[in-house]
Subunit: 364 residues, 2 copies
């Protein structure tokens, strides 16, 4: 075998997922047949990088980054810095930033590969989606985003393989949000009872299962973004995550209250709405769940509440698990199902690290 | 982009999976950025190949192969022929032959990559397993075998990624045989009743769900082979599929009857054994299923009958579906679950075609 090739790694974002990723990267670097050099890491206001492309040390890197006095770089400056590197570069975007996502075509055009859990790039405008894959195809740079749907669950790789091998995806449905999964598994458990809606939302927030303002989960946009990505991979040129019906669980009257805390405080006044939905489902022997579905033939994508038999796999989900059912011509009546934790720093970072391995195996 | 690289494809085996694969290969060849040339195809007694490495035509290839007057090549001759090819070669082994499997190290040592659903190579002796991966590592040839467990379901790729990214696999359990799944879903359905054991075996055979002699399914060896593969990937150096407890469902008295037909004819005399097992489970409110499990910490692998609550995902399986639950440190109490058809020509071939795509992306 030839000498280990050197590959430079640049990481944007050092929050929950970012920290888990750094730990996985450090471990993987020791086992990899490539020589992986972390040369750049940034978070919102600080940056740590090596102007001469020598590897940064992982020891106390979070502290070093927080204390760094290096001048933060704009996105164009980051591209300039990375494209001047004397070996192949992989950018790891562990943010949920639209600005970084918008720059993917520019990174890729310079031959910089990208791995990321950031949904924004792949669920934004259809033009951005096209620009990303066209830039990658032209330069030969790679782009992988497994963790943008279902965290580390092998959803995107499986869907791509079905399509690439010539299967016809007919329908995709499932629970795509760990937050929504947790909320409905507690609010309307298959064994009956369950708490009041507002109490479950409050509990989910306290347990760290929601965004700081729970409305950012309850508006359904997170699920709509994931459906946009999967629909596009299945062949539907979905224009944006707001171009199909998405049911928001935010009562109209609370859409404009100023804070998440005020929202939580007033939510109990609207408990009867969700209670009615739950009782209506129970009368049919069913439970209500917040799901997304894609009907490829009808070109229909939708996100919202649906009722399921108690024995249905979607009803029987536990904790904050995701479940994704992919119906195809080859698989017939029984779908290919993937289920498990769809959120959390470690499993999200795992999808990113897995993507990095795929890129390294494909870089020539 | 540079001109499309040419890659030669050689296929051994043109039965159920082989025919489906050829059809998928023909379709994929038209979409691939590589120039894929099928130069060799063989089945039990005939061979069709191009001595000068020009591409064979897909038109009526099955008939052409059946009618071929070319002299069949021994495995060493096939290796000689393929290693003299003027470009990279991928061998697709669509047989279940131990002889071909035993030659994998020799193919790989010559730089010939392999994709296959053949379990024999990866579940034979541990020495063969080591020889295969050591030959691949030395020559740089690739070897993928997704369809050796769960057909096209992404089981092996997912397990590998968990391990490669540094997760700790603690336990794997599931239903790994389409035949066993079908038999038990009919014999002991969650909603109660179900037919007599011998009648279900007979029905399964008539529907084509069993091997010609159903004892080849009922002895548990097929499941034991799959468990051997997964256990090795999870880090256990399992010596062979007979080095751990495997429960056979063949009554002792029928082990040596001469034919599958005689076996089926006499099986009703032993129905009470399975009926007792079923009733015992029902008394606990459970159903019986034929499962395999791997406890990584205890280094225990076993295959046989177990009882499950009716609400357990393993109990609720449908048709001939497989289900594989992977418990890891990162995923915690709720496993990563993959479920769907685990047998059938098209979905098995899909795993092979998917592996071929992976090899093509990695060949430099």
């Amino acid at each position: 075998m030839s000498a280990a090739k050197e590959v430079y790694i640049a990481v944007i974002g050092a929050g929950g997922v970012g920290k888990c990723f750094l730990s996985q990267l450090e471990g993987f670097s020791k086992r990899s047949s490539s020589k992986l050099s972390l040369i750049f890491i940034s978070r919102s206001k600080t940056v740590l990088y090596s102007p001469k492309y020598t590897a940064l040390s992982y020891d106390n890197i979070s502290t070093a980054l927080a204390d760094s006095k290096q001048e933060p770089l704009s996105v164009p400056k980051i591209i300039e810095y990375l494209s001047a590197a004397p070996a192949k570069v992989v950018l790891v975007d562990n943010t949920s930033s639209q600005d970084v996502a918008d720059a993917y075509p520019a990174f890729l055009a310079k031959g910089i590969s990208i791995v990321t859990p950031n949904k924004k790039a792949f669920s934004g405008s259809y033009k951005l989606w096209q620009d990303i894959f066209s830039a990658a195809s032209t330069s030969g740079a790679k782009v992988y985003h497994e963790s943008s749907v279902g965290a580390g669950l092998p959803v995107i790789s499986t869907l791509k393989e079905l399509v690439d091998t010539g299967d016809e995806v007919t329908r995709i449905e499932g629970v795509f949000s760990g937050t929504m999964s947790f909320l409905f598994n507690s609010f309307a458990p298959t064994e009956g009872s369950g708490g009041k809606w507002s109490a479950e939302v409050k509990k989910a927030k306290e347990l760290g299962y929601t965004e700081p303002d729970p409305r950012d989960d309850l508006n359904g946009l997170d699920v709509a973004r994931k459906l946009t990505i999967l629909a596009r991979l299945a062949g539907l040129p979905v224009e944006s995550p707001t171009s199909f019906p998405v049911q928001s669980l935010i009562p109209k009257e609370l859409e404009s209250v100023s804070s998440g805390d005020e929202f939580l405080q007033k939510l109990p006044e609207f408990d009867s709405q969700m209670e009615d939905t739950k009782v209506a489902a129970e009368k049919e022997g069913k439970v209500v769940r917040f799901v997304g579905s894609i009907d490829v033939a009808k070109k229909e994508v939708k996100v919202g509440l649906e009722k399921f038999d108690r024995s249905h796999p979607i009803a029987a989900l536990k904790g904050s698990d995701n479940i994704i059912s992919i119906y195809t011509k080859r698989y017939g009546a029984n779908p290919l199902i993937i289920q498990g934790a769809g959120a959390g720093g470690d499993v999200t970072a795992m999808g990113v690290t897995g993507d990095l391995i795929k890129v390294l195996e494909r870089l020539t």
